[in-house]
């Protein structure tokens, strides 16, 4: 091969690879474009203020009503409940793995958590419906409905625990050894070093992990579709059936709404809200994470 053709080939390959990387930007722009343009027909029928501030979501009844607050409420109820459970468990697991566990235990526990993270969400929904509700919730609270927010929150918590524990573990382990040594040399116990030196030093990493877990919980679809049901209710009672934004999209996609109907268009409006929420949370998480990396890497 001559030198010119070699250089041409090098340039072409670089361009090709750069194209692959740029595709990711195209995808993001594509998502934004699709969600905006496809929800325009919906907003021709429903005023944006009614959509954002309305307290009744009833696309299948007459008269139709498209106030997203019940869906937002269902989503936050489940995602918030899940975090309430998952934060202490995930952080404690990370502290144990990073500060206490002997290497052998670590080597077993990490893959198990990875497997847990890889279980499809539809399986967790099945677990919620066939185990959590009948065998855990109903014996404790007989008034629990078959589909309920609590069972969904519990399985979503199980799903995001690996997210929190693995990212927190990374953050804790990035804290320099010298800080731990300083703590021990100042007559601190392991508990005090872990919770009052290492954990505060890794706090931004912990916060980032929680934010990412929150975004995941908000976007979680299959488990909540199975476990929480399909009744958009403006309630904070976790034992009642609620509908999340994601579950609503599934409900419409599964149903037989004609492609040009308002309820079909509405899924793009709901998707837009969902995307914007998770996007903002993710950007915040990346910011916090960048600051953490700056401090320790």
């Amino acid at each position: 091969m001559t030198r010119t053709s070699l250089r041409l080939r090098e340039g072409a390959i670089k361009l090709l690879l750069q194209g692959c990387a740029l595709l990711s930007i195209v995808v993001t722009l594509g998502i934004v474009w699709v969600l905006f343009t496809q929800s325009i027909p919906f907003f021709r029928h429903v005023a944006a203020t009614e959509f954002l501030f309305g307290t009744r979501w009833a696309p299948l009844l007459t008269p139709q009503s498209f106030g997203i607050l019940p869906l937002l409420c269902g989503t936050t109820l489940i995602a918030g409940g899940a975090l309430l459970l998952a934060i202490p468990i995930g952080v404690a697991t990370a502290v144990y793995l990073s500060e206490y566990a002997p290497p052998a235990v670590r080597q077993v526990a990490k893959p198990v958590l990875e497997v847990l993270a890889g279980v499809p969400t539809v399986v967790f929904g099945y677990f919620a419906l066939l185990f959590v509700t009948p065998y855990v919730l109903r014996p404790l609270f007989p008034s629990t409905e078959i589909f309920n927010a609590a069972s969904a929150a519990i399985v979503v918590a199980i799903m995001v625990i690996p997210t929190i524990s693995s990212l927190c573990d990374d953050a804790l382990r990035a804290v320099p050894r010298s800080l731990r040594e300083a703590g021990f040399a100042l007559a601190a116990t392991r508990l005090e070093v872990s919770t009052r030196v290492v954990l505060p030093a890794a706090m931004s990493g912990v916060v980032a992990s929680v934010l990412l877990a929150f975004a995941r919980a908000i976007g979680e679809t299959m488990a909540v579709s199975i476990a929480a049901g399909a009744s958009p209710t403006l309630t904070l009672n976790p034992l009642r059936s609620v509908q999340t934004m994601t579950a609503y999209i599934v409900q419409v996609a599964k149903g037989d709404a004609p492609a040009d109907s308002v309820e079909y268009d509405s899924i793009f409006a709901v998707g837009l809200v969902l995307f914007l929420m998770t996007f903002l949370i993710n950007v915040a998480a990346q910011r916090v994470l960048a600051r953490f990396r700056e401090a320790y890497e």
Partner: protein, 277 residues
């Protein structure tokens, strides 16, 4: 102000037999720390071999030797910071105030309150200057006025005048030399009896080094200082006694002026004249 770290009356343990070839530490009558036939292994590697050493109270004892000679291992054995190294095995004893620190009934947390440590690189917590000094004292149930303790400790570490107006600022905003003095202040806030210093100036510039050396000189009126250094001039400048280690063995220990003028062992002679190291 009366003596800060008052020594405890303690039964002086019986002198144990020394390894062959070792000079008995005759001029240390009442050691505060006695290292007795100490052997430390990391896996198969023997870092310290049957070392005996007496540390006299309220003096500065320097431990010198080429890198890898085991001087840091010896120092870290005195407050059991070696415990955190995986695969470490310790034989022999370190007697502190009449008690073997490796005995089962010795609580390492209590030991480390009374035997403080300053590290090679300044390692302040990412907290405020005040919290850095107050943290350990509060945790260990300090009963006096904490503001007073912080001021006193910072004064003793010759840092007070530089930081008194910014106690609530992050310790990470200080310069390297200031950070190291903060670490010393933090260590003496616990009123330890012994202060272990592991090459405390190796990450600092000459001016900061000079300040720390002055500080060490002042500290010995109240504390027992054990200083590990690879810098012979530093040992000569600040220490009263010097121990020379080589390949995990304690070659020689004596008064500093004697070690540097009339070393008893040819290997010490070679090292201090710069023939190896």
């Amino acid at each position: 102000m009366s003596a800060g770290a008052a020594l405890r009356e303690s039964a002086v343990p019986q002198r144990t037999t020394l390894a062959p070839g070792q000079t008995p530490d005759a001029d240390v009558v009442e050691p505060i720390v006695r290292v007795d036939q100490l052997t430390i292994r990391y896996g198969d590697f023997e870092a310290i071999k049957r070392v005996c050493l007496d540390i006299p109270p309220r003096r500065v004892t320097a431990i010198i030797g080429p890198s890898g000679c085991g001087k840091s291992s010896l120092l870290r054995a005195m407050n059991r910071m070696n415990d955190f190294v995986p695969g470490v095995r310790v034989e022999g004893a370190v007697i502190f105030n009449g008690q073997n620190v490796y005995a089962a009934e010795c609580d390492p947390v209590e030991l480390r309150r009374r035997v403080g440590m300053v590290f090679q690189r300044p390692n302040p917590f990412p907290k405020s200057i005040f919290r850095n000094v107050a943290w350990a004292a509060q945790m260990n149930g300090y009963r006096g006025d904490i503001n007073e303790l912080v001021e006193q400790s910072l004064r003793r570490a010759a840092l007070w005048d530089e930081v008194k107006d910014k106690l609530s600022l992050s310790a990470l905003a200080l310069s390297g030399g200031q950070q190291q003095r903060l670490c010393i202040a933090r260590a003496i806030a616990l009123q330890p009896e012994v202060l272990l210093m592991d090459e405390p100036c190796s990450a600092l510039d000459p001016i900061a080094t000079a300040r720390i050396e002055d500080l060490i000189d002042q500290l010995k009126s109240q504390y027992t200082v054990v200083l590990v250094t690879h810098n012979m001039q530093q040992a000569a400048r600040v220490s009263d006694r010097t121990a020379f280690m080589y390949m995990g063995e304690l070659v020689e220990v004596d008064q500093t002026n004697l070690i540097f003028t009339r070393p008893g062992n040819p290997r010490t002679q070679d090292y201090i004249t710069g023939r190896f190291g």
